[in-house]
């Protein structure tokens, strides 16, 4: 058994270290360390609750809007505030802009560049991958950055800027949209649609979103296996065995994405159990955060976030990360686009995951599928804005009370729990998507989702930063600054 310390990981958001035990050319066990602590939950303590809307987006520069929406929902819950329909639609468009930009960034900037590495030089597709995905010089990388830059102009209009807007309020959006502005926003969405349809998919978005099985996907792929970046990804994935790499825990959580006026979500929430093919209702009361292996105080054992606390204990024996281990009904959970699409019953994802499990391949597939699905939704939401009707109601909060805000960031379920006393935050706890996915062992010694997914990964002779490990890590699209906040 040999030990390998891997880091710094880049092309993830924030800093990340992984310790591997190797045996017979494979990972035998893994420990994931989120090596940075900033103390946002301590910082929020004692502030006026509304100040959270300035503080929490700054937890993360890539999930900034997702954090704002979770906080706004927690405060809305605290105050019994309901957004007018315009405010809900505008908030959803803002959130969707960020989520889709993150999917695009993940695919082109974070994930695909690893296939340009020399280790793949003998593969038939390597030169093409380099031409498209080499960092800084790859043709498609550069085109994607340009498309992303244009795409974020949506948020110059709708949110003042990105990241770190304060336009998202518990009562709606501070930025009403005039009729002419909607026309321009729809044109921008069509421009992004054009990039996706011409560069990524080489097909209409609706055709991709309507694929119902892996067989249909593969039949479409076979028509022209390198045409478009999605099809080249599928070709590479099959050649490198990504469908069998990095299997997760098989239990998937989604809080439900894009709340709709009058109730419900565009993507319904719940928990998907792959082993039994069963969808169960999500009960947030079953969430516990276990800090046994974190450099954090854990007297009293695992806590529900509403009563949880975050106090550093840097010398704690046995600890190896700043991240707590969230568990649902005591079980390890995976969250992300794959979870959203399994829970929301997308037939292509359900079929593909039934065949291969939750792996590197299916995680990336789920994200690309969302790019195809959500753009048409945004077009509908913009169409549903009613000119000259309200976008925002005032926020009036009680001095005392509690609130919960659940949301889906690009990379999965994000929850905020706030407790206000005498008009000040008495407790604020955040459980981020990568807190789940990159959790450490819990007090029963059960490894987190990534720690499980890394077991069995091949390590080639002489590799100090094994490429298979990099694929698995990045397939979760981790956000380390959210993980430990």
């Amino acid at each position: 058994m040999t030990r390998l310390l891997v880091g710094p990981f880049n092309r993830v958001e924030g800093d990340l270290e992984v310790t591997l035990e190797l045996a017979h050319g494979r990972v035998a066990s893994a420990q994931v360390n989120a090596p940075m602590y900033r103390g946002f939950e301590q910082i929020l303590h004692g502030k006026v609750p509304h100040d959270a809307l300035v503080v929490v987006p700054r937890i993360c520069g890539i999930c900034s809007v997702s954090q704002s929406v979770a906080a706004a929902r927690a405060l809305a819950d605290l105050g019994g505030i309901e957004m007018p329909p315009n405010g809900q639609h505008a908030t959803n468009v803002i959130l969707a802009t960020e989520n889709l930009a993150d999917h695009l960034t993940h695919f082109y900037l974070f994930f695909m560049p690893d296939f340009t590495r020399p280790v793949y030089a003998a593969r038939a597709w390597h030169a093409e991958a380099q031409r498209r995905f080499a960092p800084e010089s790859g043709e498609q990388v550069r085109a994607a950055i340009a498309a992303r830059q244009r795409w974020f102009a949506m948020l110059g209009t709708l949110a003042g800027k990105w990241p770190h807007t304060q336009s998202i309020e518990p009562g709606g959006s501070t930025r009403p949209v005039e009729s002419a502005e909607r026309t321009r926003l729809l044109a921008r969405v069509r421009e992004f649609r054009g990039f996706l349809e011409r560069q990524l998919f080489c097909a209409p978005l609706e055709q991709i979103a309507n694929l119902r099985s892996e067989a249909e996907l593969l039949a479409w792929h076979a028509q022209d296996p390198w045409r478009g970046d999605f099809r080249l990804f599928i070709s590479i994935a099959h050649d490198t065995g990504l469908a069998a790499l990095g299997g997760g825990p098989g239990r998937y959580l989604s809080y439900g994405a894009f709340a709709q006026p009058g109730g419900g979500h565009a993507f319904a929430g719940g928990v998907w159990h792959a082993a039994s093919n069963a969808l169960t209702r999500l009960d947030p009361a079953g969430i516990r955060e276990d800090a046994t292996r974190a450099w954090l105080a854990d007297a009293g054992g695992p806590q529900h976030p509403s009563t949880g606390y975050t106090v550093p204990e840097p010398d704690k024996p046995g600890a190896y990360t700043w991240n707590k281990a969230p568990r649902l009904e005591g079980q390890v959970i995976e969250t992300g686009a794959i979870a959203r699409q399994l829970v929301a019953a997308h037939p292509l994802l359900r079929d593909t995951v039934a065949r291969h499990g939750g792996t590197v391949y299916t995680r990336v597939l789920a994200r690309l599928l969302e790019l195809a699905q959500v753009v048409p939704m945004m077009e509908r939401w913009l169409g549903q804005l009613i000119v000259n009707e309200a976008y925002c109601v005032n926020t009036v909060l009680p001095d005392d009370g509690v609130g919960v805000g659940l949301n889906e960031a690009a990379r999965g379920g994000l929850g905020h729990w706030v407790h206000s006393q005498r008009g000040r935050i008495a407790n604020y706890q955040i459980v981020a998507p990568t807190s789940w996915n990159f959790s450490p062992r819990d007090r029963a010694g059960v490894p987190g989702a990534l720690e499980q997914a890394l077991v069995g990964a091949p390590v080639l002779d002489g590799e100090t930063t094994p490429v298979a490990v990099q694929h698995i890590v990045r397939s979760f699209d981790p956000c380390m600054v959210c993980t430990v906040h």
Binding site: G39, E136, K161
Partner: protein, 331 residues
């Protein structure tokens, strides 16, 4: 000019913002300006051992370092050990890496208010002992100390903002690469003057409401955000309303207050961010270079002269009364 980019106690948002730079070829623009990224956490291929070898090369003078960009605050805690951020794969606190790398750099750039002053991470009682490279809030000091000068003879260049505008970063790097950034180009807080000599107020689309003190009273109202909603645009140093964000944006155009995120200590204003602190009904944060008595007198005069159109629109979320188009051939 080669650039090494390191991240510590921040959110990565300045890098994400940087990618929104106003160009149709981000990497081409940098390269054509003579800027080469040695390594950037979000953009480079190199991971793990390759990165550690590169940093070693800089420290051993095998790789020259023209510009060290640091994003995020420097976490000195707990108890000065720096263990709140030990750089992955190295076992060495990031504050030690940054101190050693800064000593090799021709220029050191603090990207964002965290790296400049401590920023949001230094909020409340600052649980991680966060600071900026050369400032603790507005006090000179920080990780490198007030006497620090990089190889160029300049102090740390503070491209403040939360996040930074991508144009501020790109313009600063391009000026450095062209040899056009000197001490006289920095303000008293070592911020590049090309953006810090402006006020957020300049170019604000709510200026007619400001003139008449026709004020917004709730989020989404169109009126001026200064009197009630906490806006500091008349005092904050930045060109946000003349160099717009993400196309046509700015905080005030997005319907919310400027929180003066380019200023040291902005994270603890001493009042709720969304409310203007007042004494006897008068905001205490008035424009810095205007006598208070004059401001109060002018405000009261202009309030009584407010056109009906401006008054009504100020507290509406859309235009209720349009400017009348009765006359032509305006004089």
């Amino acid at each position: 000019m080669n650039v090494l980019w390191m991240q510590s106690g921040g959110c990565g948002g300045c890098s994400m913002s940087l990618l929104c730079a106003d160009t149709n070829d981000f990497h081409g623009q940098l390269r054509d300006a003579g800027i080469e990224l040695l390594w950037h956490p979000s953009l480079s291929l190199a991971s793990g051992r390759d990165v550690i070898d590169l940093l070693g090369g800089v420290l051993e003078d095998r790789v020259p370092l023209d510009a060290l960009c640091v994003e995020g605050s420097l976490l000195r805690g707990p108890n000065g050990t720096g263990r709140f951020h030990v750089m992955a794969g190295t076992g060495v606190p990031m504050i030690h890496w940054v101190s050693k790398l800064a000593a090799k750099a021709r220029y050191v750039v603090a990207v964002g208010s965290c790296a400049a002053w401590g920023g949001i991470t230094a909020s409340a009682d600052n649980p991680t002992e966060a600071c900026g490279l050369q400032y603790d809030d507005e006090r000179p000091g920080g990780l490198l100390g007030p006497a620090f000068r990089s190889g160029s003879g300049l102090p740390v260049i503070n491209v403040a903002g939360c996040p930074t505008h991508p144009g501020w970063v790109v313009d600063t790097l391009m000026a450095m690469a062209a040899g056009n950034l000197n001490a006289a180009d920095l303000d008293t807080f070592a911020r590049p003057r090309f953006f810090a000599d402006q006020l957020v107020h300049h170019g604000c689309t709510r200026n007619e409401y400001y003139e008449f003190k026709a004020s917004a009273e709730k989020p989404s109202d169109q009126g001026c955000l200064m009197e009630h909603m906490g806006c500091k645009g008349t005092q904050a140093h930045a060109d946000c309303n003349s160099r717009l964000w993400n196309g046509e944006g700015s905080c005030t155009r997005g319907g919310y207050a400027c929180i003066s995120c380019t200023e040291p200590g902005f994270q603890e204003p001493g009042h709720p961010f969304h409310q203007t602190p007042k004494i006897a009904g008068i905001p205490i944060g008035l424009p810095t270079d205007m006598p208070k008595a004059w401001f109060v007198a002018l405000a009261s005069l202009s309030k009584s002269a407010t056109p009906r159109r401006v008054k009504i629109n100020a507290t509406a979320d859309h235009m209720v009364v349009a400017p009348a188009a009765r006359r032509t051939r305006l004089k």
